[in-house]
């Protein structure tokens, strides 16, 4: 009894000591960083003060995924988002882009970056958006990353008319086509638009007639596969089966065995870290898939492509980036990203980097246009964003009436590595200009949302970029 009596307080003391130490460490870290920020802030203010334009600070919240299947892409998203600030004179705090930048200014205003992170689920995304908007009081919010998150955050943005939301890289169709929040903007194409040209290529170039699709079971792959199905079926192709493994699946063998042997090929909408697992397992079960597969957006992501290596040489994919582009603006963007963040060198063509880049660049250009004026619930800024002709590295981006981007789409073929960096080269074989969200008239606010069964596989008026539609 006596021992216990004496033992307990010691334990308590240890606990308190540990807690106090932990809290002190956190507080010290916090305080220290606050000092840094203040110092950075005052420096910036002094710097622009001599220029005579500084007044006020604009808070920009940025959030991507720091947990879940897309967490490996957090660095790319942040690198993309920081680059427009760095191009405007800010300095990266470290090689890790999530640490933010020092001395960022746009239109003479100091820019304060607030960090956020979610886990690809809509709940967490809204919770994080709420924290950033309602507690951190950001003026502008850039994010989220994943499809279902985007729909939820766009819905939330309707409740916060005084804040401007710019989508990060979440690509579900409904986010803009159905939700249509007046203060939510998306400066990149959605998952459906990204597939423009693939159905045409499969039918007319590869001669496929009967295909299977496979994609993660959530809103972004629904949108991607919707685009492929709409185009491929409109010109006479048949989609005989759609397979939907859950997001985050690691073992695709049971799905691979469900792909009939006799189909001409399959469209792959498995994303994130699942792509590599899928391709490897397919190889083990069925042999080489390069002549059987048509890829979604993730296959040409530089990080994933490096792991896939020669397995996917010959595969055709489509998306809004073209890593082989020789446009000077693209070269400049790509070099600047590698220079600011050496770890991200070579990832400029990732949609994650490019999507967050166009988001921040659009915010910066619009803020410059209105001279940083956020009065009247951002009326001028929102107007500027709606009418912005964003001069992006791979071509101009304009918004439609639902504040959704209209931009070029690139058909790419993966070829052997010739540059010696160990990553197969993606070569652009066709550019489809100005793909809009209706996808040549297939989708409207009244058509059913893309899901497991929709859109139906039906013959229809082919979109204008297909051979049958008069393009080609």
């Amino acid at each position: 009894m006596r021992d216990r009596e004496e033992g307990r307080p010691t334990r308590l003391i240890i606990l308190f000591a540990a807690l106090v130490l932990a809290l002190a460490a956190i507080a010290a870290g916090c305080g220290g960083d606050d000092d840094d920020e203040e110092a950075g802030g005052t420096n910036a203010a002094a710097g622009t003060g001599t220029g005579g334009a500084a007044s006020g600070t604009i808070k920009i919240g940025i959030f991507s995924n720091n947990e879940g299947g897309f967490a490996p892409f957090e660095g790319q998203t942040w690198g993309g988002a920081m680059l427009p600030l760095i191009e405007r004179g800010a300095k990266a705090k470290s090689g890790d882009p999530t640490k933010g930048v020092d001395g960022a200014t746009i239109a003479g205003k100091n820019i304060e970056i607030v960090y956020g992170g979610s886990d690809s689920t809509p709940d967490k995304a809204v919770e994080e958006a709420r924290r950033l908007v309602e507690q951190e009081k950001v003026d502008i919010l850039i994010g989220p990353l994943s499809g279902s998150e985007g729909i939820a955050v766009a819905n939330y943005s309707k409740e916060q008319p005084g804040v401007t939301f710019v989508n990060g890289i979440s690509g579900a169709q409904d986010t803009t086509l159905k939700v249509r929040s007046p203060n939510f903007f998306r400066f990149h194409n959605d998952g459906t638009q990204w597939t423009a040209g693939l159905g045409d290529y499969a039918y007319n170039e590869l001669g496929w007639r009967n295909v299977v699709t496979i994609g993660d079971d959530y809103d972004f792959p629904y949108s991607q596969i919707a685009g492929f199905v709409a185009e491929f079926c409109s010109i006479g192709g048949n989609v005989s089966k759609r397979l939907w493994p859950p997001l985050g699946e690691e073992d695709y063998s049971s799905y691979i065995t469900q792909i009939p042997e006799n189909v001409d090929g399959f469209f792959m909408g498995v994303g994130g870290t699942g792509t590599v697992a899928f391709v490897r397992q397919y190889e083990q079960l069925r042999g080489n898939l390069a002549d059987k597969i048509m890829g979604g957006i993730f296959m040409t992501d530089p990080v994933i492509l490096k792991e896939l290596g020669d397995r996917v040489v010959g595969v055709v994919t489509a998306g809004m980036t073209a890593g082989d582009s020789d446009l000077p603006a693209y070269k400049e963007y790509s070099d600047a990203l590698g220079k600011a963040y050496p770890d991200l060198a070579g990832t400029a063509s990732s949609v994650f980097a490019y999507g967050y880049y166009t988001a921040m660049e659009a915010v910066a250009q619009a803020l410059e246009e209105v001279d940083g004026d956020l009065s009247d619930d951002h009326a001028k800024l929102n107007d500027a964003l709606s009418n912005l002709e964003l001069d992006a590295p791979l071509g101009t981006i304009k918004l439609d009436e639902n504040r959704q981007a209209i931009m070029d789409n690139f058909l790419q073929q993966i070829g052997k590595d010739t540059t010696g960096d160990g990553v197969p080269d993606a070569k652009t074989i066709k550019t489809i200009p100005k793909v809009d969200q209706t996808f040549g008239g297939f989708f409207s606010p009244d058509t059913p949302s893309p899901d497991r069964e929709n859109p139906k596989c039906e013959k229809a008026d082919p979109p204008p970029w297909t051979k049958q539609g008069g393009g080609g």
């Binding site: 807690l19 932990a22 960090y115 809509p122 709940d123 507690q135 499809g147 993660d216 859950p246 899901d451």
Partner: protein, 338 residues
């Protein structure tokens, strides 16, 4: 023993009084994102603490059961996604609770004959099963979940005025606490404790042990279901991501941080957890490493005070109580013989 009573009741009453005035004290965001969330997470955790502390059943299925209630509710009212039946939200609430209790009783009956680690694993299996059920049955949910769920008119728009939902969560918390406290002292609860302590002796006394455990599990499901429905009111959405393993672990962590042996510990743990979550994410050095920090605190508490924060509180008040008892005795009686 008025001092004893004071020590037992004063902090709780004080907390309830402060909470009752919370809308006047705290900002809307804090009221909604921290306090209201902590209240409903506390309800979820108290169902686990009740099962663990009074029935000896450490269940990992509580989040899944609250998911059953939440999804049932979300599917029965007007919403984006789900089956959009369009019932009155109160009717849907009731049906949500009924569905969760029914599923709870069914799963409880299956799990009632296993103990310890086996019981833990079976309930973990339930959790995973229910998660995948909603993730894969797209007619009911799918990964994107059910969005823009209609809530009872009484609540209004929680984003613009969080006070009504906060009061509802507060009342629900008090009701859940009172119910479980009452049950734990009623013959039914004493039976649970008997089963917890010695199932074979209880069997020998003529109790139907599996039935007792099934009923306890069903009661836990009812309380968890309350949390599930309130969580949907609070989020205005529910998706399989809301009831996945991370949330299951969160509720377990909350219960352990608060203290597995005292019902009040659920809310103490939930407040600590949510406040920490909210505050720590804003701290630059930690930011995305929230889970690491919570893990370390969890470890510290498990190692130092198995009774959690409530355990620390008890040992503090114990000392106080003993000292007073000693002093009052010293004043009236002769000094104790050493």
């Amino acid at each position: 023993m008025s001092l004893e009573r004071a020590i037992n009741w004063a902090p709780g009453l004080l907390a309830v009084v402060i909470l009752a005035l919370a809308p006047l004290i705290f900002s809307d965001f804090y009221l909604s994102a921290v306090i209201t969330k902590a209240l409903w997470l506390g309800i979820a955790a108290v169902s686990l603490i009740f099962l663990a502390g009074y029935a000896g059943m450490v269940s990992l299925g509580q989040v899944a059961l609250y998911g059953v209630a939440g999804f049932t509710f979300a599917n029965l009212v007007v919403a984006d996604g789900g089956s959009k039946v369009g019932l009155n939200p109160w009717v849907a609430t009731l049906l949500g609770l009924v569905a969760a209790v029914a599923v709870g009783l069914f799963l409880g009956a299956i799990a009632s004959r296993s103990y310890g680690i086996y019981f833990l694993m079976i309930t973990l299996a339930f959790a995973v099963l229910i998660y995948y059920f909603f993730a894969q049955v797209t007619d009911l949910s799918g990964f994107g979940g059910v969005n823009n769920v209609q809530t009872p008119a009484l609540i209004g728009n929680p984003l613009q005025d969080p006070a009504p939902l906060f009061y509802i969560a507060l009342v629900a918390s008090v009701v859940a606490y009172a119910l479980l406290r009452y049950v734990s002292r009623a013959p039914l609860g004493l039976g649970f404790q008997g089963v917890r302590d010695d199932p074979s002796r209880m069997r020998a006394l003529g109790y139907n042990v599996p039935l007792q455990r099934t009923v306890a599990f069903g009661l836990g499901a009812l309380v968890a279901a309350l949390a599930g429905v309130i969580s949907v009111w609070w989020n205005t959405r529910i998706s399989p991501g809301s009831i996945a393993l991370p949330q299951t672990i969160d509720v377990l962590v909350i219960a352990v941080i608060g203290g597995l042996f005292r019902l009040e510990g659920a809310w103490v743990g939930a407040f600590a957890f949510v406040a920490l979550d909210n505050w720590i994410r804003g701290v630059d050095v930690i930011g995305s490493r929230f889970n690491t920090v919570v893990g370390l605190i969890f470890l510290a508490i498990v190692l130092v005070s198995p009774g959690g924060l409530m355990g620390i509180w008890e040992s503090l008040t114990d000392r106080l109580r003993r000292r007073f008892a000693y002093e009052s005795r010293a004043a009236t009686e002769s000094p104790p013989v050493p």
